[in-house]
Subunit: 210 residues, 2 copies
Amino acid sequence: QTVYPRTESPVHLELQDTELWSCFESLSTEMILTKGGRRMFPVLRVGVRGLDPETLYDFKLDFIPCDNYRWRYVSRQWQTNGKQDNTSLNQDRRYGVTIKGEPYSHPKSPNYGRFWMSDIIEFKNVKLTNRPNPTKDDHIILNSLHKYKPRIHILQSLSNGQPNILLETFTFPLTSFIAVTAYQNEEITALKIRHNPFAKAFQEPRDRTE
Amino acid sequence: QTVYPRTESPVHLELQDTELWSCFESLSTEMILTKGGRRMFPVLRVGVRGLDPETLYDFKLDFIPCDNYRWRYVSRQWQTNGKQDNTSLNQDRRYGVTIKGEPYSHPKSPNYGRFWMSDIIEFKNVKLTNRPNPTKDDHIILNSLHKYKPRIHILQSLSNGQPNILLETFTFPLTSFIAVTAYQNEEITALKIRHNPFAKAFQEPRDRTE
DNA sequence: ATGTTTCCACCTAGGTGAAAACTT
DNA sequence: AAGTTTTCACCTAGGTGGAAACAT
């Protein structure tokens, strides 16, 4: 007879800006890749509870392929050719991580539970690239026209040289996206322009009541 | 008979940009205080050796009064009235530290010895203020027209809730300065403009050979 | 008279999507 | 034809000292 665990991990991660993410998700989120690295928008932001205040943790981010398809945007619809694509994803395991083959480490890592729980944790400085050999640690290598799902890992950091212990991994289906080198869906472009302050140059003058 | 220690701490801190600091020191360095907080220029930068790569350390910065005098710039010379000033420094021990009464903590604290030793450590984001109750942790409260000497503290950070252990404190006489709300010595102003990229608006066009 | 505060033009530094050029 | 790269104007964000206004 199956024995189910009586307790669950006390650690809770709560995704922020779910309303905004939903708007993008309903149109199929796209994220830009450039050689020099492009930030994500929206930014991945989470609140955390249930850590031990005085224990040391690392927070890390990587991207897991949602499938092995190559996606195309045809007639205002994302579609696949129905065949698995084994040429890129399966051959190069680095895709979705940094040049070191490791997830992106939040720049405040390592830090104490009390620190991580004291404020929203923002992954605003991670950059997405299609360059196979980026020179910076904050660059995540992705494959254009492939679909990814962000994951956040919480590790216990040990200050004696031992490897860190992976405590838990959280995935956020709402934040999955297709990596592109240029936006395909113009509605996605419009949403980005509307909400990303750095794209203000392209905003139409808007009604104050909105 | 006096017994002298046979060993010294293996930790070495090496101040960077000593040539630049010397130029300022020879004119009497001044640092601006503002309500909103002003960065230091030059920036305090150090290299560190001799830490244990796998031990966790905090790096902290504060400012120790060089004396209890109030300084005046008269006839192109800094001078005191020869009397100790007991009204401000001795009554308010917070001067030279943050609003919490603590030194400024380098934003990458805590981190491992291998991290701190891997690159120059820059205190470029600390801000100096004369506001008695700043709202931000990166603000150091100083008293205008008083003279200070920067100190860097290295602490061992313990990930079990125990208070950190102060391992060593380094002072840098070359970087001492008088806090001011407006520059007094125009030669200091000229040096700041010449070397601080953010003051480029005030630079005279310069000869390329310089 | 002396010292402080506020506001400002002018920078650094770098994040946007558009459009044109380029590649295959 | 389909996708990628480069360059660009236009932003965000914020660090300078100057100058005038202000405070004591």
